[in-house]
């Protein structure tokens, strides 16, 4: 049985009496330690799907189970990293990470402090522990948010376009950093993005979504295609990677053509 299992999960929003279908009924299993990216056009419903896994939205139909037990509202088992860096400005870097261990009853106070120090090192923020959030860069803020989420030791890590607001160089740096973190933490992860390269580089498996309402167009086993080795920057230039990237791009292009024929034609 998969670690995280979605059984015919769907979402219909009520927009002032008008029913807007955001997510088509979807059944999906994610294995323990597997990193899955949800790739799709903006506003397609992939974020809504992930928020349902996090318990921040209620599915209109279907069930979500973790280790076989049904999930309802949000709790510590599913940690979330948002695109808008939700690191708290009134706390220092260390203070933010400390908030992640604060609500854990499974740790002694010594173990909590040790966890905070270990995570500061893991995300590369040693020496910034006393800095306030407004004094550090966007990339560092997002590392604080990631460390804080890991501090709560969730079973599933949910990341909603966490690098979407960062400049290209910082984004690249954090992608590599996240690969390091994943090696150390090995969490079951869902990572939402609209960046094809990012989706492939970070994942064991890529789900390509249609335009709204979200439907899985293709479920790609990245590990099988790229091999089980470590992901690095250099991997992006290998023929296998480029081939996979072209394949994904063509799926997305066809989908756009189907959903909004005029737009793609105009864009040439």
């Amino acid at each position: 049985m998969a670690h995280l299992q979605l059984h015919s999960v769907s979402k219909i929003f009520d927009d002032g009496g008008r029913r807007v279908e955001a997510v088509c009924p979807l059944t999906l299993g994610v294995e323990r330690g597997q990193i899955v990216t949800f790739l799709g056009p903006s506003g397609c419903g992939k974020t809504t799907l992930m928020r349902m896994v996090g318990g921040l939205e209620t599915p209109t139909s279907g069930r979500i189970t973790l280790d076989g037990s049904e999930l309802a509202g949000p709790d510590r088992r599913r940690g979330m990293v948002f695109q808008s860096y939700a690191a708290f400005p009134w706390l220092t870097v260390a203070g933010n990470i400390r908030l992640g261990v604060k609500y854990r009853r499974d740790l002694s106070s010594d173990a909590r402090e040790a966890t905070v120090q270990r995570l500061l090192t893991l995300v590369g923020l040693e020496g910034f522990d006393h800095s306030y959030i407004n004094r550090i860069s966007g990339g560092m803020r997002q590392r604080v948010a990631i460390a804080r989420t890991l501090a709560a030791d969730p079973e599933v890590l949910l990341m909603d376009e966490p690098f979407g607001a960062l400049d290209a160089l910082t984004r690249e740096h954090l992608q590599i950093k996240l690969l390091d973190i994943n090696r150390a933490a090995a969490k079951t992860t869902i990572f939402v993005t609209h960046d094809v390269e990012e989706a492939i580089l970070l994942a064991h498996r890529v789900l390509v979504f249609s335009a709204r309402p979200a439907r899985v167009l293709e479920d790609l086993d990245v590990t099988a295609r790229l091999g089980p080795g470590d992901r690095t920057r250099a991997l992006r230039d290998t023929p296998a990677f480029l081939e996979l990237k072209r394949h994904v791009q063509s799926i997305i292009r066809d989908e756009y053509m189907r959903a909004e024929p005029g737009v793609v034609a105009d864009a040439g």
Binding site: L56, M80, A86, Y103, N134
Partner: protein, 258 residues
């Protein structure tokens, strides 16, 4: 110096502020000595300064100031103690908001001076009615301001809290309150200013002490310099309180600065 939307060195800003004040005093002085306006209506600035001194030495003005400041702060803190928790709950629990908002909105639009006769019938002419006037004037405004400040806390902050395993109470204490606090303190500063307005009204209508009472009783003897000195005193107290709040805000919320 007249760069469009540029900033100025602190020293120049202070000097310009002083110059503005001096210009005002100079025009006032010239008008008073020119004979356009009778001295009875417009005494010179220096006459007001002398009256200011007399108020303290002859009329025990310090005691009045102390009483007025005491009333303002007592009533203000009384409304803060109730308004801050209630405002937080109103925004965190829609049911509380829906229950309280229409009533608060109704009271909020009643002019407080209109309530004074009723409050005097209820509470007499003692301290209680003055505290009630001030409390009415600030509480209903403050509770909505706090509720709005709390509503502006980003949803991601609260959702992060839930996914870290915090309970609703822990989220209010550890996330919602500290996130809204800088804006709440700013609104406290503004509300305290209103409190002074209502205090003077309350003291003019029914009081035997306080700055408002002092000004009102001196009016009967047409002691214009003393009346103006009393008004200046209110201005000075207001300015000092405001600056103290601003300083506390800067010190307390250093982390807001990049």
């Amino acid at each position: 110096m007249f760069g469009f939307r540029t900033s100025l060195p602190r020293r120049i800003e202070v000097m310009l502020g002083m110059a503005g004040l001096l210009t005002f005093l100079l025009i006032w002085h010239l008008m008073a000595i020119s004979g356009w306006v009778k001295e009875q209506f417009l005494p010179t600035p220096s006459a007001v300064v002398q009256a200011f001194g007399r108020l303290f030495t002859e009329s025990g003005f310090a005691g009045d100031i102390l009483i007025s400041v005491g009333r303002v702060w007592f009533a203000f803190l009384l409304s803060v103690i109730v308004a801050v928790p209630l405002g937080l709950l109103m925004s965190c629990y829609r049911a509380v908001g829906a229950f309280v908002e229409p009533f608060v909105d109704f009271i909020r639009y009643l002019p407080v001076p209109a309530m004074v006769p009723l409050l005097i019938i209820w509470f007499g002419v003692g301290e209680a009615s003055k505290i009630a006037v001030l409390w009415m004037g600030t509480f209903f405004q403050l509770v909505l301001l706090v509720s709005d400040d709390t509503k502006r806390v980003p949803a991601e902050y609260i959702e992060s809290g839930f996914t870290l395993g915090a309970s609703q109470w822990q989220i209010i204490r550890d996330i919602v309150f500290p996130a809204a606090l800088p804006n709440i303190v700013d609104n406290l500063r503004i509300t305290l200013g209103w409190c002074w307005t209502y205090l003077i009204i309350a003291e003019i209508v029914a009081a035997s002490s306080g700055i408002g009472h002092m000004i009102w009783s001196l009016r009967r003897f047409v002691k214009t310099p003393e009346v103006m000195a009393g008004i200046v005193a209110i201005g000075i107290i207001g300015l000092l309180t405001d600056q103290a709040f601003r300083l506390a805000h800067r010190r307390g919320f250093r982390y807001l600065r990049a």
